[in-house]
Point group: C3
Chain length 255, copies 3
C-alpha cells in the first residue's frame, strides 16, 4: 500500500455514483481531485451500461427517490457480476423507517465491498437502536466497535464508521484511525466525500480493508492540512478539497 | 430576542427542506453554519416521517417537479398538525402561471408561518401584477409595503420581502431593514439561503415576527461583514457563508 | 463584436437551462457572473412557458432522466418557434448508447444554434467512433477538425469542440482558440460552465459563430487569469468564477 495514491493518479479509476443532489458536486470534484474520474448517472435505463466501464460504484441514499432504489439495484447487480466493488453510504438509516428498509434491501440484494456510515447508521444496520436527528447521528454509542464487527461479519463486508475517531473493520481486524479535524463535522457532505474517496481507493486496490484504511487516513490527513489554512467552514471546505489534491503516498508512509 | 443565536447553537434545530437542486447545497450548509441541522428530503413516502423530528419546514419551489407539490403538502400538513413552523419561498411566482398556481395551492392547503419572496413574487401573491425575468423580480413596486401587509393579513402569516431594503410584516407591524450588501444580489441562491435562515430562527422562536426580523438582520450583517473580505462574487459567496458562522447575539443588540 | 460583454451587462439575457444537478449551481452562477440571468426549470408542464421570456436555451444531458428528454424537446420546439437560440451540450454521448441516442434525438427534433462537446462527443455525433471514460473523452482524435466540420455541415449548426485547443466552426470557417489553462480540466463542470457561457453570448448576438468565438475566448481568458491566483483545484474554481465577472470587452480586442 505504499503507492496507492500513485496508482490512482496512474489508473484514473472511473467511479460511478448514484447519489443525492445535495452533495453531488462535492462528490464529483473530490473523486477528480484524488485522481479518479467521476460519473454521476442514476437513470435506470442507463446505469447498467455506465457501470460496465467503472472501477467502483458508490451508492448513497442521502435523498431518497422513487426511482433511485431500482437504479441502485440494477447498477449494483451489474457491478457484482463484473466484480466491481460497491460502496454503500446508508445516509439517514435510522432516521426514518423507509431509509432503514432501503439500506437493508440494498444489503440483501447486493454483494457490497464497503459500508460507510456514522455511528447511528452502523448501529441500526447491525440490528441495534440509534438516535438520529435527520441524517446526523446523535447520542452515545458505547458498543459501536462491536456493532461494526457484527455488521462486517453478517454482511462479509468492510465497515467504516466515521466519527471523531474512525473505525475500519472487516469483521476480524479492527483499525481505529485518529485523523481528521473537528471542522470536518461543520461542513455538509464530508461523509459523502469520504464515500467517494472509498470508491476511488477501492477502484484501484482489491484488498478493500487496506484500501479503506488508506482512504480514511488520506482523507483525514487532507482535513488536518486544511485546518492549518482555514478556520471558518466555507473556506475550510475549499481548503479540504484543495488539500485532497495534494496528499501523496509519503503522507501514508506509516500505514 | 437577545439570545436567539445562542439558543440556535444550543438547540440545534433540525430544518427539513423540500427545495430545488440548484441551491440545495448552500441551503444545507447555511443551516449548519447558523447552528441548525439540515435535512433535505423530498420523497413523498418519507417526508411526513422526516418532518416529525424537525423544528421547522422550508418549502422552496425554485425548480418545480411532478412529485414535489404532493410531497410539500404531505410534509406541510404533518408540520401543521405538530405545530412546526412552515416557511414558504415561492420562487418564480409570477414568472409562469404554474408557479403562481402552485404557490397559491400551498398557501391554501397549509397554515404557513412565513412567506419570503422578492418584490415581484409578493406582489403577485397579494393579488397584484408583477414583472419577472425568470425567477428575478424586475420593475418598480411602489405599493410593495401595502402588498406585503395585504398578503400578511389575508394569510395570517409573517411576510418577508427581500430586496435592497427588506420588509418584514405580520399584517400589523411593519419593519423595514436596511442591512446587507449589493453583492448579495450577484450570487445565485442568496434568497434561498435567507429562507433556510428563517427556518433556523423560527425553529427556536415561536414569535415568528420577532424571529424573522432577527433572521433578516443577522443574515444582512453576515452579508455586510463578507463585503469587507471579498469584492468578487464567487469569493463573496464563501465569505458570506463563513460570516454566517460568526454572527452572534451581540451583533443583534439593537433589535 | 467589440462590445459584446457590454451588451450582455446591458441586456441581461435570461438563459433558460435544462441541465444536470451535478453542476447546476455553477451553471447558474456563471450565467449571472457574465451579466445574464439564469433560470433552471425542467418540469415538462412549465418549460414552454418559461422559455418564452428567455434569450437562450441551454440543454445539457449530463444526468439523464426519465422526464428530461420530453421537457427538452418541448422547450426546444418553443424556442425554435420564437427564434431563441438553443445550445446543446451532449454530455457523455458515446459513453452509453442511450446518451448517444438522446443527443441524436435532440439534434433531429430541434433546430440547434450551437453544439458544444469534448472531442469524443463531437466525434460520435459526427458519425465516428470515440473512446470515453464516463463523460470524459479519452484517446486521440486526429480527425477532430474534420469531424467538427462534418457535424456543423450536417446539422447547419455552430460546433464548439472543447479541449486543450478549442475549435469553433460553422461548417465553413474554422477557428482554433488557444486560450484557457490546464487547471480547467481538473475541475468538474468547466464544460457545463462553457455551455452556459455560450448561452449568455448567443443570447445577445445572433451571429452564433461570432458569439461562440467570443464566448470561448472570454471564458479561456477568465481561466488564464484565475491561474495567476490559484494553483489548487477548489480554489481555482472560485478564482475562475470570480474572473468571469471581471472579463471585459478590452480583453477581447484582438477578436
Amino acid at each position: 500500500m505504499t503507492n496507492i495514491i500513485a496508482r490512482i493518479k496512474e489508473e484514473k479509476p472511473l467511479v460511478h455514483h448514484i447519489t443525492n443532489y445535495v452533495t453531488t458536486n462535492e462528490s464529483a470534484n473530490v473523486t477528480l481531485y484524488w485522481g479518479g474520474l467521476p460519473v454521476m448517472a442514476h437513470f435506470k435505463e442507463e446505469v447498467a451500461a455506465m457501470v460496465e466501464s467503472a472501477a467502483a460504484l458508490v451508492l448513497n441514499i442521502g435523498v431518497l427517490d422513487d426511482e433511485q432504489v431500482e437504479a441502485m439495484i440494477r447498477a449494483g447487480k451489474k457491478a457484482n457480476q463484473l466484480e466491481i466493488p460497491v460502496i454503500l453510504d446508508p445516509v439517514g438509516a435510522g432516521a426514518t423507517d423507509i431509509r432503514t428498509d432501503v439500506a437493508k434491501e440494498l444489503m440483501s440484494e447486493l454483494d457490497l465491498a464497503v459500508i460507510k456510515g456514522n455511528q447511528g447508521e452502523i448501529t441500526v444496520l447491525s440490528g441495534g437502536k440509534a438516535e438520529m436527528s435527520g441524517v446526523e447521528s446523535i447520542g452515545e454509542y458505547s458498543k459501536i466497535e462491536q456493532d461494526a464487527l457484527n455488521l462486517a461479519q453478517q454482511q462479509d463486508v468492510v465497515v467504516v464508521v466515521s466519527g471523531a475517531e474512525d473505525i475500519v473493520t472487516d469483521g476480524q481486524e479492527v483499525k481505529r484511525i485518529n485523523r481528521g479535524h473537528p471542522l470536518m463535522g461543520q461542513v455538509v457532505g464530508t461523509g459523502c466525500m469520504l464515500s467517494s474517496t472509498l470508491g476511488v481507493f477501492c477502484g484501484v486496490e482489491k484488498d478493500y480493508l487496506a484500501a479503506s484504511i488508506a482512504a480514511v487516513t488520506a482523507y483525514g490527513i487532507a482535513g488536518e492540512k486544511a485546518s492549518q489554512e482555514a478556520e471558518r467552514p466555507a473556506s475550510y471546505k475549499i481548503a479540504l478539497q484543495d488539500n485532497i489534491s495534494m496528499v501523496n503516498d509519503d503522507d501514508l508512509i506509516d500505514l
